[in-house]
């Protein structure tokens, strides 16, 4: 029994290292990498790790291929999914200020991401530029979009913009759309459901 517990503790520590430390160009690891390192029960190990992380405001996010999270993911879907370490609760205003984002940069990102979501995950770059140029100068729009592409929020193929890995890993798309449509952003309603 104690041996089993010890083995689980070792695996949880190893899972934390694998997910936390940068291994590839993108952060996080694929499910099959976790399976290789932790064995078939890697999902259980990640759940245990999540229990520990929860107390310090972190969690492991699982991002599946495709835009929707499967209700009962198969082992193949889990193997192809990417596991990231992320902040669990919404940031406070001061956290966001400390992250170095300018208000207009964030606004442009929200506009681009929500428009792309509404267009089923891809939209012509010029359409997004047109919306942004109503409020921002041309040079800033171009600079911002290029920056989002560099940061991994957007991906551009043949003048069409897609949501890239960072947008899918970091932004709770359903809540974003709900808030954009509702327009309600009172600070008291911060208890937004986190993406598992």
């Amino acid at each position: 029994m104690a041996e089993n517990t010890g083995a689980y503790v070792r695996k949880v520590k190893r899972a934390a290292k694998i997910i936390f430390y940068r291994r590839h160009r993108q952060p996080g690891v694929k499910g099959w990498e976790l399976r290789r390192a932790l064995g078939k029960e890697y999902v259980k190990i990640v759940d245990l790790l999540n229990q520990h992380l929860s107390s310090i405001g972190l969690q492991v996010n699982t991002v599946y291929e495709g835009s929707e999270r499967p209700q009962n993911p198969t082992s193949e879907q889990l193997d192809r999914a990417r596991f990231y370490m992320a902040v669990k609760e919404p940031l406070t205003s001061s956290d966001l200020v400390m992250s170095g984002w300018r208000v207009d940069d964030v606004a442009a990102l929200v506009v681009a991401v929500s428009y792309i979501i509404s267009k089923q995950g891809k939209a012509a770059r010029k359409d997004i530029e047109q919306i942004l140029r109503e409020k921002f100068p041309k040079w800033r729009v171009e600079r911002n979009l290029n920056r989002y592409i560099r940061q991994g929020y957007l991906n551009e193929v043949d003048d069409v913009l897609y949501l890239d890995w960072r947008a899918r890993a970091e932004i709770d798309q359903k809540t974003l759309i709900k808030l954009v449509i509702g327009g309600e952003t009172s600070p008291s309603s911060d208890q937004t459901a986190t993406t598992p």
């Binding site: 290292k17 430390y21 940068r22 406070t92 509404s118 012509a124 759309i177 327009g183």
Partner: protein, 265 residues
């Protein structure tokens, strides 16, 4: 060929399908039934190979549209569906500060850490200790006789040192070998792939491998924790994207490592 008018008709169908696919517009704007009827009507009249190719291309594009129509319906019935016009209107009305608040409530930034292993630190210290000062190194360099630059494959081909066809064929053969050896796990340990019975041959294989990775035939996976490097072949040749940040990853083809491997086999 029946007539250039008919061919233009198919080209128009193709360009409509491509435009819909690229812009993410409503795929139901394409009249699939009419397009298929047009294809059926023209098919018996095609004679030339290029006409059949055009017919096949049109059919391929129409099938992509049918697939998009399926996704469109799925998306409309999903919780993420919202009219793009409504979103456009809403985001135009919202002030940047409001958008900032929305972002704050939906953003869960990813956290990651870079770290150095003890082994890498020791290697770095050793390297630093052995490294001569810049002045000493510069003194040893011969006087430049012309413009110095790295020799690219194109230049070697131009100078007729290597033959373009033979080099391309060699790379293709090498790529096939990598794909065969990586079957199963989808990747192979770098040293397992480049190892050859002689050290010279190993160096040549490492040299060719660098081209496989640089030219989009394969990629490398580096596991810093285990300090292991793997080669992952692409099934299709990837176009190089210079928008992405390219990185160089030097690997020392150390004679001692090769010797250890040779003794272990």
């Amino acid at each position: 060929m029946k007539s250039s008018k008919d061919r233009n008709r198919l080209l128009r169908i193709i360009s409509l399908c491509v435009a819909i696919e690229r812009k993410g517009e409503n795929p139901f704007e394409v009249g699939v039934k009419e397009a298929l009827e047009t294809l059926r009507k023209y098919l018996p009249h095609w004679k030339a190979l290029e006409d059949f190719a055009l017919d096949a291309e049109t059919l391929n594009r129409i099938s992509s549209i049918v697939s998009l129509q399926g996704n469109w319906i799925k998306h409309r019935s999903s919780t993420l569906f919202v009219d793009p016009l409504l979103i456009e209107l809403k985001v135009k009305m919202l002030e940047p500060e409001k958008l900032l608040q929305i972002f704050r409530r939906t953003w869960r930034p990813v956290i990651e850490m870079d770290r150095l292993s003890k082994k890498r630190v020791l290697e770095a210290i050793d390297y630093w200790n052995r490294l001569q000062s810049l002045d000493e190194r510069l003194m040893k360099l011969p006087e430049p006789t012309g413009v110095l630059d790295l020799t690219s494959i194109e230049e070697l081909i131009k100078a007729r040192i290597i033959n373009e066809e033979s080099f391309t064929a060699l790379l293709q053969k090498f790529w096939l070998e990598l794909k065969e050896k990586a079957v199963g796990e989808g990747r192979i340990h770098y040293w397992d792939f480049i190892y050859a019975p002689s050290y010279e041959e190993t160096v040549v294989r490492a040299y060719l491998t660098s081209f496989l990775v640089t030219y989009g035939f394969a990629t490398m996976e580096i596991e810093p924790l285990e300090e292991e490097t793997f080669l992952v072949p692409y099934m299709e040749l990837r176009e190089l994207s210079f928008k992405e940040q390219m990185i160089s990853f030097p690997i020392s083809i150390d004679y001692d490592i090769w010797k250890e491997m040779a003794e272990g086999r």
